[in-house]
């Protein structure tokens, strides 16, 4: 692939995930030039404007990196190369599992039938086959969850390089809007990836418009006040409904008018109507925003449905089957946790199998696999529910919640532990299955967010001195949220 062309499927890998890939020797085969470090994150509330700034320096880490962006393809190619060098591993390319049957009656082993006619009788069948996992279905493992009424639009964005007056393109940006968050994830000095989660109807419209129109929308959505974004959305939807094509110029005109009425100066970084593509000395507030997009790489606009789902068990009833990754859990991408959680699953599963082998165990038996479930189910549950709550917290426009949220975010800025916890959300290391218990930060995040949702004793989360200040903010937020819930 050309050095400036990037696939639209990308993931941020946490430091723990990268370390795991290094430990197993696979990272060497991942093309480093196609990866990009994230050193800072800017996250802000689309309505109140309250902002959190994360940087690797705030993390209890030895590195300046919070996470590393890579195309899923780059990682897959690296893993495949690594596997091809292990003689014990046999790879079957372009082969599908066509059926899975159970041999005999009780305690029978799974028989996996392949599209090339082969059948495998498996001591252990690992279901790493994604959200619609045929292995999970065969094992009769149920899941609980729900579809969000949002989809994620992805695209590879091109933009001018940052000027020498600005920090390099290693800052990720995410704006929380009531329709869902929009994220800007750097891949190279001039290319970045977008994950824009928004309402299903809008997704269809955004995918149908001309790329230059999409560019205009993306730039505006990172910058304009929320009321105006809502207006632009409506404009787009009604033009699609009435089949009356909207021109880019019309939209630009509208944005320009709105910037003026919001008192956004044309020289501000918050202005996108006029300055697109211009270079020169950047406005002072440019660090708060991603660079202006100039174009979208052809063929990279796509969308994915978003689901919260968690398998009720990771092991098949009689053993012999185990689930990892999206086959076991899917999560909203706003925290970039899906793949990282899957890699942590794999790391623990490998360790569990190794232990069982050393004890002469049958690696397909329930007993041998149980430590894997014990180590991962609850850990994933915490990540899943924390991310889900973040999503729900930010998808409301209910004023008391927004007010409390702004208080919340500003309060959060003061609280190191919660801040670190939220940073982990964004992929800053920790949360992995480390023996040293570095997973604690998720506990803090989950607990902290739990308290947003209830009037439970916030003192438990916060500790002592700050309770009065923080407690009120969080508690009101909790009350407001529960009212929203009742509506």
């Amino acid at each position: 692939m050309d050095a400036n062309t990037f696939s639209n499927r990308v993931s941020s890998l946490t430091n723990d995930s990268c370390q795991f890939l290094k430990d197993i020797g696979a990272w060497n085969y991942v093309e480093q030039r196609r990866t990009c470090p994230i050193e800072e994150m800017q996250v802000w509330d689309g309505i109140s404007g309250a902002r959190i700034n994360f940087s690797a320096a705030d993390l209890p880490l030895q590195t300046t990196e919070m996470s590393r962006m890579t195309e899923n393809l780059n990682l897959q190619r690296g893993l495949l190369k690594h596997l091809s060098r292990i003689p014990e591993v046999q790879l079957l390319d372009n082969v599908r599992v066509t059926a899975i049957e159970k041999e005999g009656e009780a305690n029978g082993w799974p028989l996996v039938r392949l599209s090339n006619g082969q059948t495998f009788r498996t001591r252990l069948l690992v279901g790493a086959d994604g959200p619609n996992s045929p292995v999970r279905t065969f094992a009769g493992i149920t899941t609980h969850g729900w579809a969000y009424d949002t989809h994620a639009v992805v695209a590879t964005l091109s933009h001018a390089p940052r000027t020498p007056f600005q920090p390099p393109n290693t800052t990720a940006y995410q704006r929380f809007l009531p329709t869902g968050p929009i994220a800007f994830l750097p891949l190279s000095p001039t290319e970045s990836s977008m994950v824009w989660s928004t309402k299903t109807a809008l997704v269809a419209a955004l995918k149908s418009v001309d790329p230059s129109m999409l560019v205009t929308f993306i730039n505006a959505v990172f910058r304009l006040p929320e009321v105006s974004i809502r207006y632009l959305h409506d404009l787009l939807l009604s033009s699609v409904a009435s089949r009356k094509a909207l021109t880019v110029d019309e939209v630009r005109e509208e944005i320009l008018w709105r910037e003026r009425s919001h008192n956004i100066s044309a020289t501000s970084a918050y202005s996108s109507a006029l300055s697109a593509g211009e270079v020169g000395i950047p406005p002072e507030d440019s660090e708060f925003l991603p660079p202006l997009i100039t174009s979208i790489q052809p063929g990279t606009v796509a969308s994915f449905p978003l689901r919260y789902s968690h398998a009720d068990a990771y092991i098949g009833d009689g053993g012999r089957i185990v689930l990892v990754g999206d086959a076991a859990h899917t999560v909203h991408p706003l925290a970039g946790q899906g793949l990282n959680a899957g890699l942590a699953d794999v790391q623990v599963l490998a360790r569990t199998i190794e232990t069982a082998l050393l004890q002469g165990g049958d690696i397909g038996s329930r007993t041998a696999l149980l430590p894997y479930t014990r180590a991962r189910w609850f850990e994933n549950h915490k990540i899943l529910s924390a991310v889900d709550k973040l999503h729900k917290l930010y998808s409301t426009t209910f004023p008391p919640v927004v007010w409390a949220r702004s208080v919340g975010l500003e309060v959060i800025n003061e609280l190191d532990t919660i801040k670190v916890a939220l940073m982990i959300t964004a992929g800053g290391g920790g949360g992995g299955p480390r023996a040293d218990g570095s997973g604690w930060r998720w506990d803090v995040a989950a607990k902290g967010l739990e308290n947003f949702n209830s009037t439970a004793d916030t003192a438990k989360v916060v500790g002592s001195g700050l309770v009065n200040v923080v407690g009120i903010g969080l508690q009101r937020l909790g009350n407001a949220l529960s009212q929203v819930g009742r509506r």
Binding site: R123, Q359, T367, P371
Partner: protein, 321 residues
Amino acid sequence: MALREVIVSNAAAVRKRPMFPLCGRGIANNVNTVDASEIELFSRLSSQWWDEHGEFAMLHKMNPVRMEFIKQKLQEVQWEEGTCSASSSATPLEGLDILDVGCGGGLLSESLARLGARTTGIDASEANIGIASTHAVRDPQFARSAKSLKYLHTTAEALLAEGKQYDVVCSMEVIEHVNTPSEFLHICAQLVKPGGHLFLSTISRTPVAYALTILAVENVLGIVTPGTHTYSKYIKPSELLSFFQEYPTRFASKTGEHGRPWITRLYNGLPSRKEADVRGLIYVPWDGRWTLTGRSSTSIDFDLSTLCNYIFWVRKPNGSV
């Protein structure tokens, strides 16, 4: 320590009752140590052996911990005597002849065989041997080389009569079910090659053991079929230790066996690390698994760790027959 006092005084009360004597009982020749009524009970249960949710769930979970202990003991001795295998991937069980007395559905036997031991599992119940063999045949790991694992419907006595001896003899959760434990131990001991190892795991006769295994597990929770355990048959760690302090001298008149006792002396109630070891097996409910306690430092019967389930290792002196 109020808790300990209570336990001690209860234990003392229990001890006043006439218990079966572990040591010092004469051995009648050709006594079949297998209790007929218990064979029947286990035959009924044996179809459930491999159901990891069922009655044997706790046993399935205990297996890895027992294996850990067995490996650890063999490794310690091999290190000390410089007989470690040259290959780093080899396990300390590699190439050893191991007998699993009362193998049940083959839980331990399969693990032993997987780690490279030439394993023989025996059980007095034909149904158990049937279940164990059927299970092993389905596993390509054993089907390929019948040499590594075989099951026999026979008794320890019968093997002894054939003059068989093994590097390692294991008997897990069996001794609490036999009629005359001292005879059973004597037979197992003779099946061990000089310098070889004997591993036993069982339940101690303490009020805690009674509460946990009979009262709670059988009667209250209904996890195990009532009648599985008989409290009076539980053996304390100290009874095993004193048996091997007097073994084989006590049996000299019967068998003509002389030589150094397997345990020469106790230090604060504990054997030398090179002769024997006792460890508690504790179930940690919130982890859903068993753990092995460290070497105990207090009086062994009342040490919390060995109040209920424990595992015992003793080594046959090199000069014995």
